[in-house]
Amino acid sequence: MQIIKDKAIIEDNWVHYCGEGDLPEGNIIVSLDLWQEMDLSGRNIGLQLEPDDMLSDIKDDLHHFDLIAINFPTFADGRGYSMAKILRDRLGYKKEIRAVGDVMRDQLFYLQRCGFNAFEIKAGRDIVDALEAFEDFSVKYQTSSDEDVPLYRRQ
């Protein structure tokens, strides 16, 4: 499957594992429950967070994860934006933060501003078209994960 990472389209080398069937080879993305239940030692692990997971539950475990995926059950649920911001700004998480679920081009600009750098565009949507969303706005008023200085200090 193709995803967008660091503003480019790449072939994804991660697999989502929901706990059913055999554990796939390679890099796997699992839920918080699965990560706590299963012995995954020796594997590259991505953690998938749901909007109501508490970051306080995992803040000391972040070094275990090569990737954190944040799920958007619907794009109208904006909790994931604050999660990513806190992961980046407060907890210092430097590796991949990936948006999964109901993700399409119209959210990408805000998502990348909040610290997401990878995106699984939902099925049926044009991933090449989505890539253009990063250029929707050339000016940003606020500071965020992608900008340390407010606009008024830059103009």
Partner: protein, 552 residues
């Protein structure tokens, strides 16, 4: 007023391009309606009963004559020749075609206007005291802070998909005219003993089906912390506000369920963490830059008394009535604040035609430095008129029907669009408002009643602010019949209170007799000089209720 720089303009222009693309994808079927709905709402575009409705932002109620002319052009070209002033100081058009909306946005952008975040579950357009900068009771001019907040909240990446809509209001005067206690966040600009500007911050006010008065969360947030403190509140809400039930999703419910001390603790903890991470405080230089856009216009030094004006007052009774009712004292000697009444029988409250817009724009140029204010009570204001000019201006306003001497009276009612336009409404409100203004047209009687805030909503969502009317009317639907419930005792001001339902509702033929009954109880029992609200607070509901339902 604030003038866009290159960056401000670019953001608005790029939004037009983005929205044009979204409309194109919708029309091509690449966006589903349930996806597009959320996106278009963030740009003020609703789908109503018969057509789309576009709500255009009027930040803190400030318009230039040039902008108003463009709104007139839009009303003529894309709509049916009129617009509607809303209770949050915006203007909406009821009949645009979807495919025209990007062009309308282009036209708006050409005069530094937009429809960004006038709807949707995001930080909405910011409202403020309509007399900011000219009121005699002002401590701090809130407009620069409202503009700074407008910029900060525009496309804020973290807070675009909140649990529910989110409204800010600002005042900096002794008297609150912006209903800040009925907003998600109300900001009252104050000065401390050292003369430094800060804000009393109230959170969790609102109307809707669970009306609540905002609660004081911080007594003095220094101006440099305005944005970071707000960010802390927004982040607490974005994470913990309820998303399981639309009717329990506003921040007022979160504050209520957590209890105020716990909510404050979460906000303060978040604020401290943000600061520790190096959140950027607001620069004094930036406050100065924006404040420079809101300096006084070129007032002339005038004597406070105008002989010509006084002569007209003596000679013309109608003029003196208008002055008494619609004119307010100005901070600058020789000047006055003029309220334009958009309320009169036969016209939906707040409606304004394209021709009226053009006339108002011309008058603004001739008499008030080219600026117009909109009010949350759905009227307009010329903030800086020379007393010498009042008589001439009055005649011009009479010609376009905006000189009804009814500001603050029962005729000056707030009213939502109701079932004639809105998909949420349970009952019509505009025809009822018309019945009321038509029936209560004896101005001597209305003046005798004194200040009386009558507010009507066509459903429990309370867009017509019925909860805070001295008398409120709420349209409901009982078994297919439109009924109107009456509430008494609400107030949106510093003495904020939420009206109480007096009893069973009335149908559209009974509502006028019921209002007459309530008003007769008031005039019978009031003390010398006692207004309706004060009388109700002294007397309580009982005498009104007993009289109203006496025959049942």
């Amino acid at each position: 007023m604030y003038q866009y720089n290159e960056n401000d303009q670019r953001i608005v222009d790029e939004r037009v391009v983005q929205f044009r693309g979204q409309v194109k994808r919708r029309l091509a079927g690449e966006l589903k309606e349930d996806e597009f709905r959320i996106l278009r709402l963030q740009n003020g575009l609703y789908l109503q009963i018969q057509a789309y409705m576009l709500r255009v932002a009027v930040p803190y109620g400030l318009l230039s004559s040039r902008q108003l002319r463009m709104l007139a052009h839009i009303a003529t070209k894309y709509d049916r020749g009129y617009g509607h002033m809303t209770t949050r100081q915006n203007i909406q058009f009821n009949w645009p075609k979807l495919e025209d909306v990007p062009d309308i946005l282009d036209d708006l952008a050409s005069v530094q206007m937009h429809a960004i975040q006038t709807s949707g579950n995001c930080i909405r357009n910011i409202s403020a005291d309509q007399f900011a900068g000219v009121a005699a009771d002002e401590v701090v001019d809130p407009r620069p802070y409202a503009e700074i907040m407008r910029q900060w909240s525009t496309f804020h990446p973290e807070f675009a998909y909140l649990p529910r809509k989110f409204k800010f209001a600002f005042t900096g005067a002794a008297q609150d005219r912006a209903a800040i206690l009925f907003h998600d966040i109300g900001y009252r600009a104050v000065k401390n003993n050292a003369g430094e500007v800060g804000f009393k911050i109230y959170v969790g006010g609102g109307m809707g089906r669970t009306p609540m008065i905002g609660k004081l969360v911080n007594n003095f947030v220094p101006e440099k912390d305005l944005l970071v403190y707000t960010e802390a509140i927004m982040r607490v809400y974005n994470q913990f506000g309820r998303r399981d039930n639309k009717y329990k999703a506003r921040i007022k419910i979160l504050v209520h369920e957590l209890k105020l001390p716990k909510f404050i603790e979460l906000v303060e903890t978040e604020f401290a963490a943000l600061r520790q991470e190096g959140a950027v405080p607001l620069d004094a230089a930036e406050i100065d830059r924006v404040t420079a856009h809101f300096t006084d216009p070129d007032y002339v030094d005038l004597p406070d008394k105008s002989e010509a004006f006084n002569q007209h007052l003596q000679d013309d009774k109608d003029f003196s009535l208008w002055v008494k009712q619609n004119i307010l004292a100005h901070k600058k000697p020789g000047y006055a604040i003029v309220n334009l009444s958009l309320k009169k029988p036969g016209v939906p409250p707040g409606d304004i035609t394209d021709e009226q817009m053009l006339s108002v724009a011309d008058m603004a140029d001739d008499y008030s430095f080219g600026e117009i204010r909109s009010t949350h009570e759905q009227n307009l204001v010329f903030a800086d008129v020379r007393k010498d000019d009042l008589y001439q201006l009055w005649q011009a306003l009479k010609d376009i029907g905006f000189a009804e001497p009814n500001i603050g009276t029962l005729q000056d009612m707030i009213c939502c669009p109701g079932l004639d336009f809105c998909t949420l409404a349970n009952a019509r409100s505009i025809p009822i408002a018309d019945k009321i203004t038509t029936c209560f047209d004896d101005m001597d009687y209305l003046y005798d009643l004194g200040e009386l805030k009558l507010k009507m909503s066509g459903c429990i969502n309370a867009c017509g602010h019925h909860h805070v009317g001295h008398i409120g009317i709420l349209g409901v639907n009982k078994k297919g019949q439109e009924l109107y419930q009456i509430t008494l005792g609400g107030s949106a001001g510093d003495d904020a209170s939420i009206g109480k339902i007096i009893g069973p509702g009335f149908d559209q033929d009974e509502i006028i007799p019921a209002l007459k009954n309530i008003l007769s109880t008031y005039t019978r029992l009031r003390e010398e000089g006692e207004g309706f609200l004060a009388a109700y607070r002294r007397l309580g509901m009982s005498p009104f209720k007993e009289q109203l339902y006496a025959n049942n």
